[in-house]
Symmetry: C2
């Protein structure tokens, strides 16, 4: 009864930070995927790094699983209590500790959401650009190496986390990195914990790279008759060095969903949605140059704007793509895929995937961060319909293998969690063994978020 | 006699790839620092990954140290055979294996130098921007997480290596990463080997991110009466989001060195040297806007140009700063420092360091990659003069501690090697223990480049 004894000691030492109320356990057993409900045995709400350290030392002593929790918006079951144990909910550790405007960095606690952070930054002239869609916690975004629509310009969490404070499995607290912009001082522990999904330690503080709020922003939309032309346009634009802030692809099925959900009046064809950041002069120049490329490549209906209301409407529509898509099949739930391929293979990957989806009979719009080669199919299934779930998972499986065959990855930004675990050998080969070696070196008892990312036995 | 038996078996298996000629051993025992000559017992010139794998398996079986060698331009004694053993010289593995123009990446062997790579890329419209000054090998640059003058725009090796092939200590070959632009598929093994200085494995192939050759380039130079104004100008420029490709600081002593060595006719005051990449219109606009900021901040003599010959002369002078500096004290050798601090502390760090250098009586120009907060003092000493060497090392020691006290790092881009090993506890604390855990997990016998970056006993 290792979990029971751990919870007893946690209750004694951390008192009212701990709860075992059924509603709290249920809440922390939910997830946004097709995975079953898997509640933990207790939920802890620490308020300081010292409390996290104390909790992990206790759990370590009792061999009790520890599952970190941000906002629960993960798409691969990252926060499910596969083996029970204690979920550590970081929502009370959500403060901005420092904003250093001259250095363009901020030190934050892991529980703060990206929207809350940007609200606090508003008056500084700076912002944190990473935008995975969901209003996720910064700690969760770091742990899944999140990215989203702006990665083509600003990078992913990998490029925007400068330093971390991490509590190790046994309760020791370490700091990785510094506030200096770069360093060659040893192994890149910051990069090791970013994307580790809480399996090597629990992030309790993050130093983030901030960026200047752009002086001007322009947005554009254009239409293509086929996917190949849209992707060729993206490649040409990137090769010319035009610094796009966003370049998003949506297919005809997504356009149809926008038309129904948001009354968008878009032609039911592939589209690119773009954004440019810079000086007034630069964003005009960039939009005009992209307009020329679009025309040269055979795209049409290129429209651009610097009006904030038009731009906000465009990106609001894009952010609601998941809900717009769900509305195509009332009552549906979704299996969301997440491959990323070299951009030269993107048109092939999207075309083959679309044919595969059409053949399955499931609705499955495709949209993606096309500047990075990352795209999602949102496969709609009826809840509880085992046959449809099987169809969707088979589609997802073929898509993952297609991405690997094209030199890509099975997850561009959602992470491994439980959902992509079975592909790790195919993607990493013997490198997968090395990941296991690292896991055992840092968490020999295997208490940190078990059942995710690595297998330890 | 583990080394002897390893060399005997290597000779049997790999034949003429192996040499124990005194001149070869001497050549591979040299280094560009104040460290003593430390030759290996043998030098191996593998031509394939399979040969590297065979060699490491043999050395592993015999407990024989393995030291990777690129071009020998490291500044922290990275390639010295501290405990003897076999140096693996990668100069015969210097091919470009793939150039993927649509994906803007290239797959290369580790022995190719950055200049040779860019020569091969010239006709593609792409280039590899990382420029540490020396014409180093790409494998060596990855292993020290090198950067240089262009990191402010293009990042360091951390941001520009997409994937690796690595031979592990026991000869197993793994691949890390893919050609996809991003991934959330597990621990970031690519980032773990970049900057590992050959202590975890030997890099045999690299997939590099390439960038479009800019359509237009402009360069600028300007003068300041003090360091604080120069740094404040840099901060303002970065905060306005002006995408500089280079922004280099040189102090008055460096300006004097340029005047003597290159007949530069520069005022003996702090300078900033800048470069902009973009469209014709963009580089003009950027240079003009920086000119306005310089004037606002109290800088003067701002001059900018789009002429290639003027620009090349400027960067040639900057690249030769080391030699120009050495010429200030004929016959001198140098101790080169490499701290990086948050940019808000940069003026303090440079000012205090300059005062410290002046008090020592040693010539010691300061110059740096000011957009990143990284600067070097080139401390000139007479070869064989123990008192001067002591003075320089004491200055370097105080500078390292000053950087740490300011929240920075003891090495921005040169690496740990032997020279910065004693600062790792101060910089990383318990994180240093974690680095040791990783080292033991991947190289339990401690054969990979011993005596560098980590201590294993």
């Amino acid at each position: 009864m290792t979990i029971t004894s751990a919870i007893a000691e946690l209750g004694t030492v951390l008192g009212d930070r701990l709860t075992t109320s059924k509603s709290e356990l249920d809440l922390h057993g939910q997830n946004e995927t097709h995975f079953a409900h898997m509640p933990p045995d207790a939920v802890l709400y620490p308020e300081t790094t010292a409390e996290v350290s104390t909790a992990l030392a206790i759990c370590h002593r009792h061999d009790c699983p520890v599952i970190p929790w941000g906002t629960g918006t993960s798409l691969e079951g990252h926060a499910l209590a596969v083996n029970g144990g204690v979920t550590i909910d970081l929502s009370r550790m959500s403060r901005v500790l420092q904003i250093n405007t001259d250095d363009m960095d901020a030190v934050v606690q892991p529980g703060i959401t990206r929207e809350a952070l940007n609200t606090e930054l508003r008056a500084t002239g700076l912002f944190f650009p990473i935008d995975p869609g969901a209003n996720a916690s910064i700690g969760g975004m770091a742990s899944t190496r999140a990215s989203g629509t702006t990665a083509v310009r600003y990078g992913t969490m990998r490029e925007n986390v400068l330093a971390l404070e991490v509590v190790l499995a046994d309760g020791r607290v370490i700091r990785t990195g510094t506030r200096a912009r770069k360093s060659s001082a040893g192994y890149d522990l910051t990069a090791m914990f970013v994307g580790a999904e809480g399996t090597l330690g629990l992030i309790t503080e993050l130093t983030l790279r901030l960026h200047g709020q752009p002086e001007a922003v322009s947005a554009a939309i254009c239409v293509f008759d086929d996917i190949d032309t849209a992707v060729a346009t993206v490649i040409a634009t990137i090769q010319m060095g035009i610094p796009m802030a966003r370049i998003e692809f949506v297919d005809e099925a997504t356009a149809r969903a926008f038309n129904i959900y948001a009354d968008a009046k878009m032609p039911e064809k592939p589209h690119l949605l773009l954004e440019f950041h810079g000086s007034d002069q630069a964003v005009s120049e960039q939009a005009e140059r992209v307009g020329e490329i679009v025309a040269d490549m055979g795209g049409h209906d290129f429209q651009w704007t610097t009006k904030a209301e038009d731009r906000n409407a465009l990106w609001k529509m894009r952010h609601n793509a998941y809900y717009a898509t769900l509305a195509l099949k009332p009552g549906a739930t979704a299996v969301v895929t997440d491959v990323c391929v070299p951009i030269s293979r993107l048109a092939d990957a999207v075309r083959e995937t679309r044919a595969d989806i059409l053949a399955s009979g499931l609705p499955g719009p495709i949209l993606g961060h096309v500047g990075d080669g990352n795209f999602h199919a949102i496969l709609l299934i009826e809840p509880g319909n085992a046959a449809e779930k099987r169809l969707a998972l088979d589609l997802s499986h073929r898509l993952a293998n297609r991405a690997l065959a094209m030199g890509g990855t099975v997850t561009g930004e959602h992470g491994v969690g439980m959902g992509k675990l079975d592909y790790m050998v195919a993607e990493h080969g013997e490198g997968w063994t090395v990941m296991g070696d690292i896991k055992r070196a840092l968490d020999p008892k295997g208490i940190m978020n078990p059942g995710k990312l690595v297998r330890t036995n």
